[in-house]
């Protein structure tokens, strides 16, 4: 890389380059956190010490795996990479509202990644899990400050990003573009940023109090001095449950884009999906956090009240799911690798979502809480559904970003390893979870009967590792040497395909588009009329697509 290209990337304020940098950073976090997962699975594969006889070492792997996957891979991948790259293109904007603040966000994110990686070289890495519950996080000799400062950096980065993108969507839509003409992905991203803006300050205050308690001698969480250990858990989950939707909603948004394009269909019941599904989830998300605290000694009335609110989440999620299924109905379905991942997500969201229903019931959670059943449940939603939706999106938009296809036999091979591997890993964990296998255990001498299940799960983890290695190498290969893609190869109606060329340059659009009321990002039933509803004829008219 020459100095010039280095400078171009380092000082860039272009939303697409910033997006690619988010992609690289979050995939780096994914790879390292994935290696931690392999170490964890190896350690669990046999009773007694397997690859380490030091539980503290194992605990710091758990910490890194959880914190990095949620905070440095899923959230920045979805709201950093996907939102940055595609949201301005979808709404016909030439960049985000505050490009320099956007550049500041990405460097805060990289600061956090570096801080997180430093935990591998300091002598006392954090071992407080990604939840950081006091009093342990205060009394432990490990370095809780690393955890707190990493969260601070990521929090600032996300809040700045949230303001930036909300302003962008409110003020920079293509002239004539009404709210009900937005892509579902745009809606889900807006909802995710609203959640970030409301809830991140709560998390930031909680971990800051932790910092003060540990290093400055305050007593927010110290019962001996009048503090309360439960205060932290309430604040933490008041953010961290909505954080699940910060991940879940954009993941659903990506799937809607892929389904609509690959089925050449309008989104089924668009308004119900947006106002009932997406905003319904945002509306309820702040009233369900106690389901993470069902066995934490909360008052009975709260545990019962939030059992009902938690179950009611099934209503907006159900509306989203109905729209997703309905988009397939009477479609003209063609397949690519992105669509393969997207279709697998239909089943992953069922497995992950439906196993959440028993966990919504307070009395049932008494037995299942903190077991590998919970562990498998949230991995199905977060690790599989959301991550697979991201991979689907990367394949689907690969021609847009790099002008080349990433599809092919290697892509399909990687997919098969991944989808089989995740089931081989997590189905055994569901089973032993119901039998009582606790999470976060370095060893399980009291449950020798679970050893074979752990071994199967470990085999599954290595299948996923193989699949991901193939997938990532395939992306790198395809970015430089993949088959060159024509404009709008999937024949989408969405603006990022019809009006912006592949590998868009600064400014995105050769002719900044504007639209009339008849335009829709899903106007497949009459393509010509839909294109005629924009001022710019767009690509299908300018460039003849390859037959």
């Amino acid at each position: 890389m020459t100095m010039q290209t280095f400078k171009e990337w380092f000082f860039t304020t272009d939303h697409k380059r910033i997006g690619i940098m988010y992609l690289v950073g979050s995939m780096a976090a994914f790879v390292v956190a994935g290696l931690m997962a392999l170490l964890i699975r190896l350690e669990q594969s046999n009773l007694g010490p397997t690859i380490t006889d030091n539980p503290n070492e194992y605990n710091s792997w758990l910490y890194f795996h959880g914190a990095a996957m949620v905070l440095a891979f899923l959230i920045p991948g979805l709201t950093g990479f996907f939102a940055n790259y595609f949201l301005p293109l979808m709404i016909g904007a030439q960049d985000v509202a505050f490009p320099r603040i956007n550049a500041f966000s990405i460097w805060l994110f990289y600061g956090a990644i570096i801080l997180a990686m430093l935990s591998f070289v300091i002598p006392d890495p954090p071992d407080v899990m990604w939840t950081g519950y006091p009093p342990y996080s205060i009394s432990t000799t490990s370095n809780t400050a690393f955890y707190v400062f990493t969260l601070h950096l990521l929090g600032f980065s996300s809040v700045l990003g949230a303001v930036n993108f909300l302003v962008t969507v409110i003020y920079m839509r293509a002239p004539g573009m009404k709210w009900n003409q937005l892509n579902i992905f745009t809606w889900t991203t807006v909802a995710a940023f609203v959640l970030q803006l409301i809830f991140i300050p709560v998390l930031a205050s909680a971990v800051t109090m932790l910092l003060f308690d540990k290093y400055l001698g305050t007593n927010f969480f110290n019962p001996e001095a009048g503090g309360d250990v439960l205060l932290y858990q309430n604040l933490f989950w008041f953010y961290s449950h909505p954080a699940v939707y910060v991940i879940f909603l954009p993941a659903c948004g990506i799937l809607f884009e892929i389904f609509a394009t690959m089925c050449k269909n309008r989104v089924f019941n668009y308004k119900a999906c947006v106002y009932g599904g997406i905003w319904g989830i945002v509306g309820i998300s702040g009233f369900v956090w106690v389901h993470h605290l069902y066995v934490s000694g909360m008052p009975d009335w709260l545990r019962i009240g939030q059992m009902v609110t938690t179950l009611l989440i099934s209503v907006p999620v159900g509306l989203l799911v109905m729209s997703m299924w309905g988009t397939l109905y009477k479609g003209a379905i063609t397949f690519n690798t992105g669509m393969l991942y997207a279709v697998s997500c239909l089943f992953l969201v069922l497995s992950g979502g439906l196993t959440g229903i028993p966990l919504a019931l307070t009395a049932i959670t008494i037995h299942l809480s903190e077991t590998s059943f919970v562990h498998a449940h949230f991995h199905f939603i977060m690790a599989m559904f959301s991550a697979f939706a991201m991979f689907a999106g990367i394949y689907y938009w690969f021609p847009k970003m790099f002008g080349r296809f990433a599809d092919g036999p290697w892509a399909t091979t990687g997919f098969i390893f991944n989808i089989v591997g995740v089931h081989v890993t997590f189905i055994p964990l569901f089973i032993i979870g119901v039998e009582g296998m606790p999470r976060r255990y370095w060893d399980y001498q009291m449950f020798p009967q679970f050893e074979p299940y752990h071994q199967v799960a470990t085999v599954g983890a290595f299948m996923v590792a193989t699949g991901m290695a193939i997938t990532i190498l395939n992306w790198v290969r395809a970015a430089f040497k993949g088959k060159v893609a024509p404009e709008n190869p999937w024949k989408s109606c969405s603006m990022e395909w019809t009006h912006a060329p592949n590998c868009p340059q600064a400014g995105n659009f050769p002719n900044p588009p504007s639209v009339t009321d008849d335009w829709s990002p899903y106007g497949y039933d009459d393509r010509e009329a839909n294109m005629a509803a924009t001022t710019d004829p767009g690509f299908p008219a300018q460039v003849k697509p390859a037959e």
Binding site: V295, S314, P358, Y524
Partner: protein
């Protein structure tokens, strides 16, 4: 289409009205562990049915509407306003009916978990990094939990250092143990045997080794054990006195 929607909405209204009635049916004895198994069984059926319906729908559509023709477009009709509203109200009502049905059942079981029987014997539990102490009263403190068969037990729990959580999978009970607060669980040991008892709130280095067995024994054996522990406690306190 319209009459079908009408019939469906009527039957759903009926279902919602009937949900609490279904829930009141008395299929299990008032015992948390048995109640847990019973409700778990029901809920697994519930989610399996929903999962199968949606899976079949997805598989069927992906198969039926697949095409090789890249220029084909979907033919899904645009929903009329009435149909769009119906497609919100009907699924939402169905999901809510199931939610309220499950809530009612879950609440009933929850009450069993929280309502301690009058005849329950109280044992105090203190958690430390990384072991448990059981206080039977009269300064009798043990590191293992031994209980007589058929005697409901209530554990009043607190911690001396960090968070822990008391979990006995065999009795389907779990509750966090915290410094500065007292929490409780109760259970009814109905079968003689040994039950794993472990910690399920991350508490540091030896979190995974904070396990003992709960021993459920016949009343006579329990009495003998208790006498023995009492003697040992007395001897220990005598020793302390002479040394002091």
């Amino acid at each position: 289409m319209r009459t079908l929607l009408g019939k469906m909405s009527l039957s759903i209204l009926g279902l919602i009205a009937a949900a609490p009635a279904f829930a009141q049916e008395d299929g299990y004895e008032r015992d948390p562990a048995a109640g847990w198994d019973y409700l778990w069984h029901e809920i697994v059926i519930d989610i399996t049915v929903i999962g199968i319906i949606f899976s079949i729908a997805a598989i069927w559509m992906v198969w039926k509407y697949r095409t090789k023709d890249e220029n084909a477009v979907g033919t899904a009709p645009k929903l009329s306003k009435a149909a769009a509203i119906a497609w919100v109200l009907i699924p939402a009502s169905l999901f809510m009916a199931d939610d309220f049905f499950l809530s009612a059942k879950g609440w009933t079981l929850w009450n069993d978990y929280r309502r301690i029987p009058d005849e329950a014997k109280e044992i105090r539990v203190t958690a430390y990094q990384w072991y448990w102490e059981f206080d039977y009263g009269d300064e009798i403190i043990t590191e293992e939990l031994v209980v007589p068969k058929g005697q409901p037990i209530v554990l009043r729990m607190t911690s001396e250092d960090v968070l822990h959580s008391l979990y006995i999978p065999g009795f389907r009970v779990k509750e966090d143990v915290m410094p500065g607060r007292v929490t409780y669980v109760w259970f009814n040991p109905k079968e003689v045997g040994e039950y794993v008892h472990t910690c399920t709130e991350y508490c540091g280095t030896a979190h995974a080794e904070m396990a003992t067995n709960v021993r459920v024994v016949e009343q006579e054996e329990y009495d003998a054990w208790f006498e023995q522990v009492k003697e040992e406690a007395k001897a220990a306190s005598l020793n302390d006195n002479t040394q002091g």
